[in-house]
Subunit: 155 residues, 2 copies
DNA sequence: GTTGAAACGCCTTATAC
DNA sequence: GTATAAGGCGTTTCAAC
């Protein structure tokens, strides 16, 4: 993937303001609207720009609690892992899931309303996940920050 | 925060397609364009909709490796924590940072290019963070999934 | 307080240079 | 990369429920 400085500037702006008009974006990066539009479309088609989304405030919506869960499976057979991975994506509270190196098999990050809500999710959904031997929950006391932008550098 | 079913539907759509035109959105939720527009603006002003952003593909950009780092501070004095938190937000590779309950003090999630890049970030940035006694790095072998949408329910 | 309709101005998009 | 033209959209204001 070859990005020049102008591409990087475009991405930096769109990562902060995804609804920038092409005219405004063109002015900020010092390009004509049509030239800017062509670059943006190329970035979209190459997959660098995956999608445009609205970010909601989890705290305002009442999903103020983050829980990180370490998962140990009963074994590391491919079938066990596949069954687990298929089931895990159906739990809406899980924001992300990684297959880890080290002591634990998977690491989940969940968004829930409060401790009581987490107890419910744990009981109704997590404890039913197939192939799981052990779940270790770590509750976040406070979100220091969460970033969605990636650092982009062009040349 | 009172959301009815239509608000929830609007949010669900905008979380997937943040650049939907108001006309298109209105049609999908079964409202007139002006009514829909008013609701969206209210959701923006109440802070439920935080921002609109472009999501970039970390893998395409070469940031394919996720590392989760557990941090232990030398003590839990407020001053120590504040100095750490201020410094941690300057490290661009850190995607999020939580103050945790349990054995570890902070949990960081990083995006880097590869193991070599992580070694550099660790040496140049993480090991210089103030007040840190211990850093335990856990490398993700594979991203199973990452979600940005929150579950929204109206009534 | 909420909805539907119309007019204006601006943006997006495509074509040509 | 720039310039131009056509179609579409958001915005605003109005009246009606």
């Amino acid at each position: 993937m070859h990005l020049d400085t102008i591409d990087a500037t475009i991405l930096t702006h769109l990562q902060k303001e995804g609804r920038l008009t092409n005219a405004e974006l063109a002015e900020r990066v010092g390009l004509s609207p049509s030239a800017c539009h062509r670059r943006v479309r190329a970035l979209e088609e190459s997959g660098v720009i995956q999608s445009y989304v609205a970010l909601l405030d989890a705290d305002v919506l009442g999903y103020g609690l983050t829980v990180v869960v370490s998962v140990t499976l009963e074994n590391q057979r491919r079938e066990t892992m596949e069954r687990f991975e298929n089931a895990v994506s159906d739990v809406g509270a899980i924001m992300d899931c990684f297959l880890m190196t080290g002591a634990d098999d998977y690491l989940l990050r969940l968004r829930v309303k409060d401790a009581h809500d987490y107890e419910r999710v744990h009981r109704e959904q997590l404890s039913n996940l197939p192939g799981v031997t052990r779940l270790v929950s770590n509750i976040a006391m406070r979100k220091v920050f969460v970033r969605t932008e990636l650092p982009v550098q062009g040349r």
